[in-house]
Symmetry: C2
Subunit: 341 residues, 2 copies
DNA sequence: CGATGAAACCGAAACGTTTCGGTAGGGGGA
DNA sequence: TCCCCCTACCGAAACGTTTCGGTTTCATCG
């Protein structure tokens, strides 16, 4: 077992004090360029990489950020958000020398508990908050822990910074478009109750209909899974009065709806128009290709990571916004029957 | 700034030595039950959680496991494997008190480098190896670092433990099925060159055809993306001799193929049968629903985590196997034209 | 030429835990 | 009664870094 080489070995080899090695490698002051170069060369030659254990204990910085995913296992698989988000996060963490600590809390309570331990144990320097609910208990918790955090798609939390993509305008555009081509009977397949993005989408749907003096079509409560979309199709298409358009709170439910509609012999978009939300890759490859609102999880991750790192370095609390989600027109939308454009 | 409470505070409060607090909480010997209970109660009351920083420095254990994902950003999004795998891993790690450190190496070289730093810096106690290539350079690296590891779906690496799901038998069954209903002209849309699971699937396709004395249909080299499936459809369906069945190395490519086939007016399964591999959720909701081989990323993650934890605790090198991937019959397969069952 | 100050470098404390050798105290055997 | 041993507990070293106060060196200026 070859003893792990440490900073003392490098110091001895380079003929300087331990503190000088530290200063040299971290760009600190009080080190001549000649010494710095020599130390750097020695460290490289010996293949020394600072121990994150020693470093984190001493510097009170772990150089790791936490992400506690609060989702049921099933949803995670086809989830369009996290893969992209994590990719974006990593792209800024890597050059900054940070790592991402991932945990999964199957329930909100479990998630909050893991978050608490994460903070108390000092395992991370900051955390990302996703799937924020209204009055999320994690906010006061983080405040209590003095743990830097950034909330994703939950602006103005008053406690922590946030990075948000406007989802309202895109969905509003989509609704207006539907109405402009003649739809009057527009149903909504909603997401999990209590989540801010579920409520937000439902509220846009409602407000646009109201602003046009149109009746509120039926609302089916879903949970963002494909299965929920299937069930919604059963309910909506089997009902007495079939809407001419169905606005789903995400793509997965829309795809489930599409699938079930086809099985029931209901043609999309001829008999009913269907829209999604998110812009998953596969949405372009189902039939008909899904008209949706394209979100940007990667950009969200990138910006969130930047904000969080700045926040750790003592930056002020900020509320950032990235380019809004925009409508992507594909083929699952058409004028209602008997009113062809 | 309320000073972080540490083990000394607990020791003072409980009226015992620091070492006794440690022993009491970690179940060590030399502590009476009465004292243990009192210490535990005191710690709980004060809300003390051991600092992972101090602990990891002292114990030479980080209680974190590393996963370096080597994939281009685009593939990650729709990827059916990682979400499930990570879910499975976490389900084991959480009760064990371990965390998962996630990193993304966009290229194999970058991935190997991140792995190297991860090991040298002592940031993790062990790592998961996925997307293993033949002669993967990470094996000798890990050996050099003395870092426990478990290879996923890459059995018999000689260097490290492995957990594997048999993918061959399922695909073989699928091929036999195709042949038994009359297909003689079977093409293959392969995955990224060099990856063991790409080569494995190609080799099953080849060997089954050979064992039946059938000609090897064309092979299109893909890269596991939906787009590659689209391109494969263009090539295969536009060629002079259209195969009667196309076996894709994964579902995403199969879905891309399906999508493009429909656009070209080629009917599936009437004109051509298409099969996938993986068993992504959405495969059941495309049209026609995709016949595929169902893999189990969650089970793989669960078992891999168990093996890795055991390996860290000094367990022997093992090669585990979980239940093989099995065919899921859906509607994208039918007898070739003019030979209806 | 001596005082002054800055730059370069050093030594040691501190971070919070685990671990290990050591000590007091009490019960049991001879 | 004496000795031994075991249990319960304590104190201090060790882990590998950063940080901070202190010391040397040397050029500059009066």
């Amino acid at each position: 077992m070859p003893k792990r080489i440490s900073i003392v070995d490098v110091a001895r080899e380079a003929g300087v004090a331990i503190s000088s090695v530290s200063a040299a490698l971290n760009g600190g002051p009080g080190v001549s360029e000649a010494t710095r170069a020599r130390v750097r060369e020695t460290a490289d030659r010996m293949g020394w990489v600072p121990s994150v254990r020693g470093r984190s204990l001493s510097s009170k910085r772990t150089r790791a950020l936490g992400l506690v995913v609060q989702r049921q296992a099933g949803v995670l698989e086809a989830d369009p958000f996290f893969a992209g988000f994590i990719g974006g996060v990593e792209s800024v963490l890597e050059p900054a020398g940070y790592a991402l600590l991932l945990q999964i809390g199957r329930t909100p309570e479990a998630g909050a508990d893991r978050l608490r331990r994460l903070g108390l144990s000092g395992a991370v320097d900051g955390v990302f908050l996703t799937d924020v609910s209204v009055d999320d208990p994690r906010f006061p918790l983080l405040d209590h822990l003095h743990l830097p955090a950034v909330a994703v798609n939950a602006p103005g939390s008053m406690w922590v910074s946030s990075v948000t993509q406007d989802h309202r305008s895109g969905l509003r555009d989509l609704m207006e478009q539907l109405i402009s081509i003649g739809h009057r009977d527009i149903a909504h397949v909603a997401g999990t109750a209590g989540l801010v993005h579920s409520e937000e989408r439902a509220s846009v749907w409602r407000s646009v209909l109201e602003s046009h003096g149109l009746p509120l079509g039926p609302v089916i409560r879903g949970d963002f899974t494909t299965e929920a979309g299937v069930r919604a199709a059963d309910t909506l298409l089997g009902g007495p009065r079939v809407p001419t358009a169905v606005v789903c709170a995400n793509d997965l439910m829309a795809i489930g709806f599409l699938s079930r509609a086809k099985a029931l012999g209901v043609r999309v978009p001829d008999d009913v128009s269907v829209t999604g939300f998110d812009g998953v890759l596969l949405g372009a490859h189902v039939h008909p290709p899904l008209t949706t609102v394209m979100t940007s999880p990667v950009a969200l991750g990138t910006r969130a990571a930047e904000v969080l790192l700045a926040s750790i370095d003592g930056g002020p609390r900020v509320d950032e916004t990235i380019a809004p989600a925009a409508v992507v027109d594909r083929a699952s939308v058409a004028p209602p029957r008997g009113r062809a454009a």
